[in-house]
């Protein structure tokens, strides 16, 4: 599904350096990335640049991608798991134009995947880089707004406050109700905000074969999880960490054990659940899997479709 680099650099953009940023800025960002890799989970300050898009559109992730991308890379960009949302499309187009790289929607074919709010369902492998767009990198900010104090807390490994937050959750809701940006401890040392991904994706970060890089543009921070790093979600002994579970498979591809989005079908309360990872869903359907909405295994070529409807 790789779309070849059809968008060759346009003449009007020719004055920009490869991947938009100048080489000096890229080197500065690479140094921050290397430091982040050397100290997994530690937030490295960097001199975030203005990008030709507003903050909140992933300028941190874009700068990280710009600093690591080369002409042979194949880029995939997702927003909430989808390749076709405005944000994902425009970032993909940005790099297709400014770096002339190939882009793809297929997770296995990508060498760099920039993401907002999801980790692909397809297991990432060695050599791939996942770049997260991060709005607020500081997990302690919720209870301690002073930056001087949170830095000290990280330095001295004073993380009691993170559990105060989880305690409040249980006191109010009877269980840990945090469902996204769920805090993790990286390599037994730094507590880290995984960006607003659903906690469903937290286990995917643990000992991932891929390199994971996090860029916060407005907050000027970069952090990293090198491959094979321990990433453990915080919890209590009597309230252990759990991921979301869905009581029905994807209505389109019948997939289970994946993260589903709720889609409202009509104004009479009709709704369905479908894969948030659009590429995962499409490839399952291409393999012949069918969900309830598409007629289940009735389809002739859906020999291996999941049967789960007799319940």
């Amino acid at each position: 599904m790789t779309s070849p680099a059809t968008d060759a650099p346009e003449p009007t953009l020719a004055r920009y350096n490869f991947a938009y940023l100048d080489e000096q800025t890229k080197r500065m960002i690479r140094r921050a990335i290397l430091k982040g890799i050397a100290i997994p989970g530690y937030q490295v300050p960097f001199a975030s640049r203005e990008m030709p898009m507003p903050y909140g559109w992933g300028t941190g992730g874009v700068q990280v991608t710009a600093a690591i991308i080369g002409p042979d890379d194949v880029l995939k960009v997702i927003d909430q798991g989808a390749d076709d949302t405005t944000n994902a499309v425009s970032i993909r187009a940005f790099f297709a134009r400014t770096a002339g790289v190939a882009t793809t929607t297929a997770t296995p074919e990508a060498t760099i995947i920039q993401t907002r709010h999801r980790i692909p369902e397809t297991k990432l492998r060695e050599g791939q880089v996942l770049v997260y767009q991060v709005p607020i990198p500081e997990p302690l900010r919720f209870l301690e707004p002073r930056e001087t104090e949170t830095r000290k807390m990280h330095a001295l490994e004073e993380y009691g406050l993170m559990h105060v937050k989880l305690y409040e959750d249980i006191a109010r809701n009877g269980r840990i109700a945090t469902t996204y940006a769920y805090p993790v401890k990286v390599e037994g040392r730094y507590v880290m905000d995984p960006s607003p991904t659903p906690k469903f994706d937290n286990p995917k970060m643990h000992r991932s074969e891929a390199l994971q890089l996090f860029g916060a543009g407005r907050e000027k921070r970069i952090y990293a999880i090198p491959p094979h790093t321990d990433v453990v979600s915080l919890d209590f002994e009597d309230h252990p960490f759990e991921i979301q579970s869905f009581d029905q498979p994807c209505a389109l591809c019948g997939g289970e054990g994946v993260y589903l989005d709720e889609v409202v079908l009509d104004d009479r309360g009709g709704r369905m659940f479908v894969c948030s990872d659009t590429h995962h869903c499409e490839s399952r359907r291409a393999e012949g899997h069918r969900g309830a909405l598409l007629g289940d295994e009735a389809s002739a070529d859906a020999a291996s479709a999941t049967v789960k409807e007799e319940m």
Partner: protein, 274 residues
Amino acid sequence: MVSADTLEPSVQPGPPSAEKPLLSVEGLTRVYGKRIGCADVSFELFPGEVLAVVGESGSGKTTLLNCISSRLAPTCGTVHYRMRDGASADIYKMSEAERRYLMRTDWGFVHQNPIDGLRMTVSAGANVGERLMAVGNRHYGNIRRAAIDWLARVEIGEDRVDDQPRTFSGGMRQRLQIARNLVTEPRLVFMDEPTGGLDVSVQARLLDLLRGLVSDLGLAVVVVTHDLAVARLLSDRMIVMKDGRVIEAGLTDRVLDDPRAPYTQLLVSSILQV
């Protein structure tokens, strides 16, 4: 130099002579530019002992308290603390990590204004449980039970455990602050005007409660107050400060009944006239 111990050599208070001081302050001075905060203060505090620091506004009480509780670096002088293993440690030679650990386990600090000592946006239960979580307790049920127990000890009902302190009265907030400090069973608690902002009737109740807790737990306390009645009720010994210096020190009853320094006499008589 005037110190609590040199002034009163014949009547060393309570603790058996074999016992070593918990806190030893020597020649402590803090200046703010040219202004003196406190100057050349020395005293010892024994386990389970309550020391009141009294004096008029601006006499250096808070400066002294902050210096001995490691919250404000002194200009010169030393503060030694006897750790649980019996070793004496210079608190300003410890690493910051060690010092902060001490502050949230073996020490407590009760601020005059509870807002400075509480997290106003989390529940009473979490306020009390925070120190337990900070030292690694990871069992929600146990933390909550401990919080409810401590709320009861400071006369706050279990039904308030999930309420935020901003819904509490001034007296309740102060009691919550006390519970939050005592949950790790510290050996030494610093208090800066703990009854300062409260109504007289609320003050009396809080003082009663504090007195009970201090004796039940065998706490050592340094309490700053400008209220001699608070010193009388809570403390075994007291030091009187003026212009940053200790001008009189001794057993509380002795100082209040038979003040020697002219300034203390004035202070005591002005109170008695009320």
